[in-house]
C-alpha cells in the first residue's frame, strides 16, 4: 500500500537525520530542569511533582518549543520543493491522499516521539537524587503520561496540522522558520486581547496551550487538592482540546483541497518576463571601457565600508515581511494592553512616562528577544542562505568588519524600534490627554536601562550562531541560555554581578528620585560585561566560517591566523577594560563594602541564633523615651544620629545586664554607645554587633537610666545590592535603624531549607496565641512599646525633614534646614524619618487636628481625595471608637521603591505609585486614594491605640479591623456598587491567595505571619458580613469597648494585665453584642475556615396582579469546613442567608431578607410588588462562596 510506504519512508528519513535527535535531546535536557525554570508557584507544601505542576509545565514546554513542531511538520512536503525533488516526486503514480497523509502522519509520529522527551525528561528531573524527599510526592508515572496525552499530543496535532499545511501550501522555508515564532506571538496577542476577568473563560478556550484552561479549572484549588488531583479532561479543558483538534482537522482539510501535484505554480515573475524578451538578445548600445578605480584601504575607507555595510544589513531586515509581522504584533499588543495602566487596586495610573515605559518594555520584551534571536541567525546566515558566500567570502573585507556590520545592522534595527516605541509612548500619552512628556526619562530608560541588555543578549545570540554554526540549534541554545541568565539564578550564593551575566538591572525609576544613585554602579557593571561580551564576539569572529565548511576543530586552528593585529589590539584594550572595571567593581563591592555570599550570610544568621538565642527571653529594660538629633545628608546618602533613649526596668526584679544590638550593617559606625550608670562592656559577641553592658549596680525595678549613642551611617563606594535607605530625594527610614534591646529574632534565618542546612529546626510562624512570653511584646518586639518622643532633624536646605509630633521650631543654620518635633503625648515605638523636596498642602479637622500632605511637585492629582479621606476617617473613628491623641496627621509621599502605604504614629508614608498618581474615574473605579487613606488612618487606632500582641491573630486586630474601619468610612461616601466592587476584589484575593498557601491556612482569629490573603482579603469580607448580620452599631460598640479596655496608653485591662491584647481578648466583645441566634456566625467567620456553596437551581415567577408577583425559587445551599489537614468537609447547615430579588431591568433590590436555611434544598415563595428580573440566594455575595456566578438566576415567567 502506497500510504504505508510513504509513511515508513518518512520515519526512516527522520530516523537518519541528526536534527531529530538534537531536538529530542534539547527537549529532554530542558525538561529535566523545566520545573525549576518555568514554575512560578512557590514549592514546599505544593510539591514539585504535583500533577498540576507537571501539567502546567508540559503546557508551557509545548508552547515554547512550538518551533520544533514547525521544523518537523513544516518541511514534510516542502522539502521536496526545497531540494528540487518535486518534479521527480510528483510524476509518480500515487494518490494525493496517500502522499499527504503518509507525510503528515509520518511526521506527526516522529514529532510525538520527539516530544516523548518531555515526560521522560520531567520524570528524570523529579527522580534526581538531590531533591529533598519531602518536597516530592511518591513517583507516579501516570501523572506524566496523562497530561502528555491530554495536553501535549492534542497541541502537537493541531500545531503540526497548521504548520504542515502552511509549509505545504506556501512552499517557502522562511514560512517554516517564522511560523513557530509567529504562532507564539499570535498567542501572546490573543492572551492580551482577552485579558480581564470577564473574558477569562473565552480566553481559556481560545488559548491552545492550556495555561488558561488549567488555571480556570484549578483556580481555587487548595494546596492539598493541587497535590492530589489529576487535571482531568473535562469542562473547559475538554472543550479547549476539542476546539483545537477541530481546528487542526479543518486546517488539514483545507490543505488537502488546496494542494496540487504541480511542480511549478502558474505565477509569472512580476512584470519581468515581458521586458526580458525584448532585452535578452539586444546588443549593448556602446562598448564601454571599464574605467580604472582606486581601492582604498586604511581607517577611513574601512569605516566607510563598515557603515555602508551595516546600513545594507539594516535595510535588508527592514525589507523582511517577517520583521514587519513581528513589529505589527508588538504594536497591536501595545495598543491592546497599554490601555491597561492598572494598579493592584484595579484603578488606572496616570500615564506618566516611566509607567508607560515600563509597560512598553514589559509588553515588548519578548519581541525584542525574538528579533534578536531570529535576525542574528538570519544575518549570520544571510550570505549562505542565499548561496552568496563564495562571492562575499572572497571580498577584501576583514572577518571582523563583516560580523561587526551585521551586528551594527541589528543594533540599528533595535534602536529604530526603540525610537518607534518612544514615539508610540508619547502618542499614547497625548491620546490620554497627558502632556508631560519626559524625553530624558524616555531616552535614559531605553538607551541606558534597556539597550545594554539588548546589546549583551545580541552578542550571546551572535556568538552561538557563529560557534554552533547551525541556525536552528543556535536559536534553541540561545533561548535556553537567555532563559537561564534572565531568570535570576536560583542557586543562591552565586549572585554577584561580576559573575552573573550582564549584572543586575538599573532598577526602577521614581518620579521623586529618578534613577537615584544606582546609575553609577550600573554603568560600571555594564562596562565590565560589554567588554566581556565583545571579547566573546571577537573570539567568535576568528572562528567564524569563511570559505568552505570545515569542522569546529579546524576552525579553531585556523583562528590563530585570523586573529589579526587590529583584533589583537582590540582584545588587549577590552581585556584592560574588563580587568579594570572588574577590579573597580570588586574594590567597591567587596573591599570598601563587605559583600557576603548568601551562604556566608546564612551562616552568620544561623550562628547569631545559635549563640544568642539564649538571651531571647532575658528580662530587659524598656525604652520609654527617645530623644535624638538626626543629621541627614541625602546627596551623600549619609546620616548621623545622636542622643539618648531612657530605659526603664518594668519588671519587679533588678536587671544586671543590658543587651544592645547594633544595626548589623557595615555602613553603620558607632562613635559611642554608653549608659549613664557604672558598667563594663562584655564584647564576647562583638562579631554580631551585640554588646552586653554589665552593670556595677543592678537597675532596680521601676528605675531608669540613659542610654546614649551616636551612630553614623555612611555607605562607601557602591555595593552589589541596592540599598535604598538614604536617597537623594525621598529618604525614608525607621527606628529599626537604631540600636535595639536584646536578642533580635528578625535577624534569624527564615527560609526553612536553609535552616535545615544550618542544623536549625524550622521556624514556626507567629507564637501561639497563648504563649505568655510573647504576650508582653508587640510592634517593637518588646523594646518598649510606648514612648515619649522628641527629635531634631537637619537636612539639606531644599528639603523638608519629617518626624512624628508637633513641629516646635523650624530654622536654617549653616546652610542646612532644621526641624524640631515633639510628640504631643505617648506614642508607639515605631516611627519614621523622612526627607525630600516636598510641596505641602494643609487643612484642619475640627480645628483641632492639622492635616498635612507632603507631596512631590506634579503629583497633585489626588490630594483632595486623600484630604477628604483623612477628614471622613477622623469623623468616623473619633466618634465611634475613641479620640485621636495627637494634634496632627501627615501623609508623606515616598519613592515607589516602597510600593506601599504604612501607618506610623501621626505619619503615613505613602508610595508615589499608590494613591498619588492614580487616575481615578469616579464612574468606573473605586476611589482607592480615599480607601487607602482611610485604611492607614484606621491603623492609628488598630495598631497604635490598640497594639496587638506578637502572637497568632495579631494581624486580624491590626489589619482586618483597619480594613473594616476603612470600609465603613468608605461606605458612607460611596455607592453600594463601589462597596460591592471592593468586596469582590478582596474575596478574590482571599480565594486566590489560599491556593498558594504553603503552610496551613489558619482561621482568621489565628492568622499567621505572611497570610495577607487572610488578614486583608478574608478579614474585610468576613467583618463586613459580620456587621451585616449583627449591625454596624453593634460591631462598633464592641470595638469601642475593646479599645477602652485594651488601648496601650490608658486601657484598663491593658494596665491591669501588663499584656498586649490578642484576638482571644477581642472575640468576647463580639460575642457580647451578638444575639444567640447569630453566635454561630462568629464561629464561622472568625474561628474556623468555612465555605458555602450556594446556588439557585430554578427561578420562576407568576403575575398575580399588577402589584403582586409571586416568585418561586429553588435553592441549593451547603456548608463546608476545612479540617486540620486542609480537607474540606460538609457540615450541617442552620444559617440565616440572604434571599434577594431584583426588579426587572434594574439593579434595584425589591426584596432582600435573611431566611433561615436548614437543609440543602430549599424551595421558597415570595411575593413582591413589582415585576422581578433576577433572583437568588446571597445575591450580594456576602458569604464565602467559591463560585458566586450561580447565585442568582434570571426569573422565568410561568
Amino acid at each position: 500500500m502506497m500510504f504505508l510506504e510513504i509513511f515508513k519512508f518518512e520515519l526512516k528519513y527522520r530516523a537518519k537525520r541528526a536534527d531529530t535527535y538534537i531536538y529530542f535531546l534539547a527537549l529532554f535536557l530542558f525538561s529535566i530542569i523545566a520545573v525549576d525554570f518555568l514554575n512560578d508557584a512557590p514549592l514546599g507544601a505544593l510539591k514539585r511533582n504535583a500533577p498540576i505542576i507537571i501539567a502546567r509545565t508540559m503546557g508551557i514546554i509545548s508552547a515554547l518549543f512550538m518551533m520544533i513542531s514547525s521544523m518537523i511538520m513544516g518541511v514534510a512536503v516542502l522539502r521536496d520543493f526545497d531540494h528540487g525533488m518535486e518534479s521527480l516526486m510528483f510524476i509518480n503514480p500515487f494518490k494525493k491522499r496517500d502522499y499527504l497523509l503518509g507525510r503528515f502522519l509520518g511526521s506527526l509520529t516522529v514529532l510525538i516521539l520527539i516530544f516523548c522527551a518531555v515526560p521522560l525528561g520531567m520524570m528524570l528531573g523529579d527522580l534526581l537524587p538531590w531533591h529533598e524527599p519531602n518536597l516530592l510526592l511518591p513517583f507516579n508515572s501516570w501523572h506524566y503520561i496523562h497530561p502528555f496525552i491530554t495536553i501535549v499530543i492534542p497541541t502537537l496535532f493541531f500545531g503540526g496540522a497548521i504548520f504542515f499545511v502552511s509549509g505545504t501550501l506556501s512552499r517557502k522555508l522562511i514560512v517554516v522558520y517564522t511560523q513557530g515564532i509567529l504562532f507564539l506571538m499570535i498567542y501572546i496577542v490573543s492572551l492580551q486581547l482577552v485579558k480581564g476577568s470577564e473574558y477569562l473563560y473565552v480566553a481559556s478556550l481560545l488559548e491552545p496551550f492550556t495555561f488558561q484552561s488549567i488555571a480556570i479549572i484549578a483556580q481555587y484549588w487548595t494546596i492539598v487538592e493541587q497535590n492530589n488531583t489529576l487535571i482531568s479532561l473535562e469542562g473547559v479543558l475538554l472543550y479547549n482540546r476539542l476546539i483545537w483538534i477541530g481546528i487542526g482537522i479543518i486546517a488539514l482539510g483545507i490543505g488537502y483541497y488546496r494542494f496540487q501535484f504541480i511542480a511549478v505554480r502558474d505565477r509569472a515573475r512580476k512584470g519581468f518576463q515581458v521586458s526580458t524578451k525584448k532585452q535578452e538578445f539586444s546588443t549593448p548600445k556602446r562598448m564601454t571601457v571599464i574605467p580604472s578605480i582606486t581601492q582604498h584601504t586604511g581607517y577611513i575607507a574601512t569605516c566607510k565600508s563598515f557603515i555602508k555595510h551595516s546600513l545594507f544589513y539594516y535595510r535588508s531586515i527592514l525589507k523582511e515581511v517577517s520583521f514587519w509581522a513581528i513589529v505589527i504584533c508588538a504594536m497591536s499588543i501595545l495598543l491592546i494592553s497599554s490601555i491597561n495602566l492598572g494598579t493592584a487596586f484595579g484603578v488606572d495610573s496616570y500615564p506618566t512616562s516611566y509607567i508607560i515605559i515600563g509597560e512598553l518594555i514589559e509588553n515588548t520584551a519578548i519581541f525584542f528577544l525574538l528579533i534578536i534571536i531570529f535576525y542574528s541567525g538570519e544575518l549570520i546566515w544571510k550570505e549562505r542562505d542565499k548561496k552568496m558566500q563564495p562571492i562575499y567570502d572572497a571580498l577584501p573585507i576583514s572577518d571582523s568588519l563583516n560580523i561587526m556590520s551585521k551586528f551594527l545592522g541589528l543594533m540599528l534595527v533595535l534602536t529604530s524600534l526603540m525610537i518607534a516605541m518612544i514615539i508610540a509612548g508619547i502618542l499614547f500619552q497625548t491620546y490620554r490627554g497627558y502632556y508631560l512628556y519626559e524625553l530624558d526619562v524616555y531616552f535614559t530608560s531605553f538607551f541606558i536601562a534597556i539597550f545594554p541588555f539588548i546589546f549583551l543578549i545580541s552578542i550571546v545570540s551572535f556568538f552561538f550562531q557563529i560557534v554552533i554554526n547551525h541556525k536552528f540549534v543556535s536559536h534553541i541554545v540561545t533561548v535556553i541560555v537567555v532563559f537561564a541568565i534572565t531568570i535570576p539564578l536560583k542557586v543562591k550564593g552565586l549572585d554577584h554581578g561580576l559573575y552573573t551575566f550582564g549584572g543586575s538591572d538599573l532598577g526602577g525609576y521614581s518620579d521623586m528620585n529618578g534613577y537615584g544613585h544606582f546609575l553609577t554602579p550600573y554603568l560600571w557593571f555594564k562596562t565590565y560585561w560589554s567588554a566581556f561580551a565583545l571579547l566573546l564576539l571577537i573570539g567568535a569572529t576568528v572562528i567564524s566560517v569563511r570559505g568552505t565548511k570545515v569542522s569546529f576543530l579546524k576552525r579553531l586552528k585556523q583562528g590563530k591566523l585570523r586573529f589579526t593585529r587590529p583584533l589583537q589590539k582590540a582584545s588587549i584594550v577590552l581585556i584592560v577594560i574588563l580587568i579594570g572595571s572588574g577590579s573597580f567593581i570588586f574594590y567597591n563591592t567587596n573591599i570598601l563594602n563587605n559583600y557576603s555570599f548568601s551562604s556566608t550570610e546564612n551562616t552568620y544568621r544561623a550562628s547569631y541564633e545559635k549563640e544568642l538565642k539564649q538571651f531571647e527571653y532575658l528580662p530587659q529594660p524598656k525604652i520609654i523615651d527617645v530623644h535624638l538629633t538626626v543629621e541627614l545628608y541625602p546627596s551623600e546618602r549619609k546620616y548621623s544620629a545622636e542622643g539618648y533613649f531612657i530605659l526603664k526596668n518594668t519588671y519587679d526584679h533588678p536587671i544586671r545586664e543590658i543587651h544592645i544590638q547594633e544595626l548589623p550593617s557595615d555602613d553603620v559606625q558607632y562613635e559611642y554607645l554608653t549608659i549613664d550608670k557604672g558598667s563594663s562592656i562584655n564584647s564576647k559577641y562583638k562579631e554580631f554587633k551585640y554588646h552586653i553592658f554589665e552593670l556595677e549596680t543592678p537597675l532596680q525595678s521601676q528605675d531608669s537610666l540613659y542610654f546614649n549613642f551616636k551612630q553614623v551611617f555612611a555607605p562607601k563606594g557602591f555595593t552589589e545590592g541596592k540599598e535604598k535607605v538614604i536617597v537623594d530625594n525621598g529618604t525614608f527610614f525607621t527606628n529599626f535603624h537604631f540600636p535595639t534591646i536584646g536578642y533580635q529574632n528578625d535577624i534569624e534565618l527564615e527560609n526553612t531549607d536553609e535552616r535545615l542546612k544550618q542544623g536549625l529546626t524550622p521556624q514556626n510562624g507567629r507564637a501561639a496565641i497563648d504563649d505568655f512570653r510573647y504576650l508582653t511584646t508587640a510592634r517593637a518586639n518588646g523594646d518598649g512599646e510606648e514612648i515619649h518622643f522628641e527629635m531634631i532633624m537637619g537636612t539639606e536646605i531644599d528639603q523638608t525633614a519629617i518626624a512624628p509630633g508637633s513641629l516646635q521650631k523650624e530654622w536654617i543654620e549653616n546652610g542646612r534646614h532644621y526641624y524640631h518635633y515633639k510628640a504631643d503625648s505617648q506614642m508607639s515605638n515605631f516611627y519614621t524619618m523622612l526627607s525630600a523636596q516636598y510641596e505641602l498642602v494643609k487643612d484642619q479637622w475640627n480645628s483641632s487636628i492639622d492635616l498635612e500632605i507632603y507631596y512631590h511637585k506634579g503629583h497633585e492629582y489626588n490630594l483632595d481625595r486623600m484630604m477628604h479621606g483623612m477628614k471622613k476617617s477622623f469623623d468616623y473613628f473619633n466618634t465611634v471608637l475613641s479620640p485621636y491623641a495627637y494634634r496632627q496627621m501627615r501623609i508623606v509621599e515616598v519613592p515607589n521603591y516602597h510600593s506601599k502605604a504604612q501607618s506610623y504614629p501621626t505619619t503615613v508614608p505613602f508610595s508615589e505609585d499608590i494613591g498619588f498618581i492614580l487616575d481615578i474615574d469616579d464612574e468606573e473605579d473605586v476611589d482607592m486614594a480615599f480607601f487607602v487613606t482611610a485604611h492607614e488612618l484606621a491603623h492609628q487606632w488598630w495598631g497604635h491605640q490598640i497594639n496587638p500582641a506578637n502572637v497568632q491573630g495579631k494581624s486580624m486586630i491590626s489589619e482586618s479591623l483597619a480594613q473594616y474601619g476603612a470600609m465603613m468610612v468608605f461606605q458612607k461616601e460611596f455607592s453600594n456598587e463601589k462597596v460591592r466592587q471592593l468586596l469582590a476584589r478582596e474575596k478574590e484575593r482571599y480565594l486566590k491567595g489560599r491556593t498558594q498557601e504553603n503552610e496551613q491556612e489558619m482561621p482568621l482569629y489565628l492568622v499567621d505571619r505572611n497570610q495577607q490573603y487572610i488578614h486583608y482579603g478574608k478579614g474585610l469580607v468576613n467583618l463586613y458580613a459580620f456587621q451585616d448580620y449583627i449591625s454596624e452599631d453593634s460591631v462598633n460598640l464592641a470595638l469601642k469597648r475593646f479599645i477602652e479596655d485594651w488601648n496601650s496608653f490608658d486601657g484598663i485591662k491593658k494596665s491591669q494585665t501588663d499584656k498586649y491584647p490578642t484576638t482571644k481578648d477581642l472575640l468576647p466583645y463580639f460575642r457580647e453584642v451578638t444575639p444567640d441566634s447569630l453566635q454561630y456566625t462568629i464561629t464561622d467567620l472568625f474561628e474556623t475556615v468555612t465555605f458555602y456553596k450556594n446556588k439557585t437551581t430554578s427561578a420562576t415567577y407568576d403575575k398575580l396582579s399588577d402589584h403582586q408577583y409571586q416568585v418561586s425559587l429553588e435553592i441549593e445551599t451547603s456548608k463546608f469546613r476545612q479540617d486540620i489537614d486542609g480537607q474540606e468537609n460538609g457540615i450541617p447547615i442552620n444559617d440565616w442567608i440572604d434571599i434577594g430579588i431584583y426588579a426587572k431591568d434594574s439593579d434595584e433590590l425589591l426584596y432582600l431578607k435573611k431566611h433561615k436555611i436548614t437543609k440543602q434544598h430549599t424551595t421558597l415563595e415570595i411575593i413582591v410588588g413589582q415585576e422581578p428580573g433576577n433572583a437568588g440566594v446571597d445575591p450580594m455575595n456576602k458569604l464565602m462562596d467559591k463560585d458566586e456566578n450561580d447565585n442568582i438566576m434570571i426569573l422565568e415567567k410561568k
Binding site: 515573475r269 512580476k270 519581468f272 521586458s275 526580458t276 532585452q279 535578452e280 538578445f281 539586444s282 546588443t283 549593448p284 548600445k285 556602446r286 562598448m287 564601454t288 571601457v289 571599464i290 574605467p291 580604472s292 578605480i293 582606486t294 581601492q295 582604498h296 584601504t297 577611513i300 575607507a301 566607510k304 565600508s305 555602508k308 555595510h309 545594507f312 535588508s316 525589507k319 544571510k382 542565499k386 548561496k387 552568496m388 563564495p390 562571492i391 562575499y392 567570502d393 572572497a394 571580498l395 577584501p396 573585507i397 576583514s398 569563511r546 570559505g547 568552505t548 570545515v550 569542522s551 579546524k554 585556523q558 591566523l561
Partner: protein, 295 residues
Amino acid sequence: MELIINNLSKTYSNGVKALNGVSLEISKGMFGLLGPNGAGKSSLMRTIATLQEADQGTVTLGEIDVLKQKDTVRKMLGYLPQEFGVYPKVSAEVLLNHLAVLKGISHKNERKEIVQALLHKTNLYEHRKKNLGGYSGGMKQRFGIAQALLANPSLIIVDEPTAGLDPAERNRFYNLLSELGEQAVVILSTHIVDDVKELCTDMAIINSGQVLYKGNPKEAITQLEGKVYRKTIAKDELQGYKQEYRVIAERFLLGKPIIHILSDIHPQNGFESIPTDLEDVYFSHIFGNLSTLAN
C-alpha cells in the same frame, strides 16, 4: 606578476583527495583549466580564491603568499564561483554598488562609473533597477561576471563562467575576458574544450586532483598531430576495439559508434587519420593514458 602553485594538496575529511601535489606556473593572460566533473578544478580555484585551506603546498602571487596573506589577495581578486546565489530583494545596481564598497572603492563617483560600465559590459544595464530575484539564470551569471570585475582585479578566477549563457553572451564574455587578460592573471575553468582552444594561451588538464598536462593548447595539439585516427564501427564491436586500441573517444553518429584512437603508427583496419583537435588531447589525457578509467 606570476601565480606559482607548488605541490598543492588537499584531502577532504571523507578521504577524497581533491588536490594531489598540484604545481602550476601561471602568468598574465588567460589560463584554461580543463578537467572532468570532480577533477579538483573548483577545489583548486577556491584555494587560490582564499576560500579553502590547503593541507600542504604553497601558492604565491608575485611576492604574496596567497594562503597566508588572504586579505592582500582578496584586494586584487575577481572571483566568479561556479555556484552562487544573490539576494533576491535587491537590484543589480544596488548590490553591485554595495559589493564595490566592500571591495574598497570608497570614492562615490568612481564606484558609480565602474558599476555603470560593468552593467553595460554585461548587458544588464536595462535591468539594473530590477530585483535580482527576478533574474533568469543567464542574467544572474552575467551579474556574477560583473561583480568579479569590480575593482580592476589583477587575479581573475572564473569557475565555469559560461554555464547558462547563450552563444552571443558567451562570446561577449570571452571578448571581455581576453581584454582583461592583457593586464591580469585570468584562470578559467571549464569542461568546454573549445573555449580553451579559442581563448587561452596556456592551459592545464587535471583529473583526480593531479595535473595531467600543462602547456600551450597549440603545442598540445601539435604533439598529437597525426596520431589520432577515426573509425565507424558496429555496436557489438566496441568492446573489442577498446581492448585492442587506445580509444580516447567514442560517440554515436546516425546510430553507429564512431571511435577515436591514439596510435603512433597508422593502425590500418579501416581507420582514417584525422586532424587533431584539442578535444582529442583532452580525452587522450583523461582516458587514453589511464586505461582503467576508459570504462
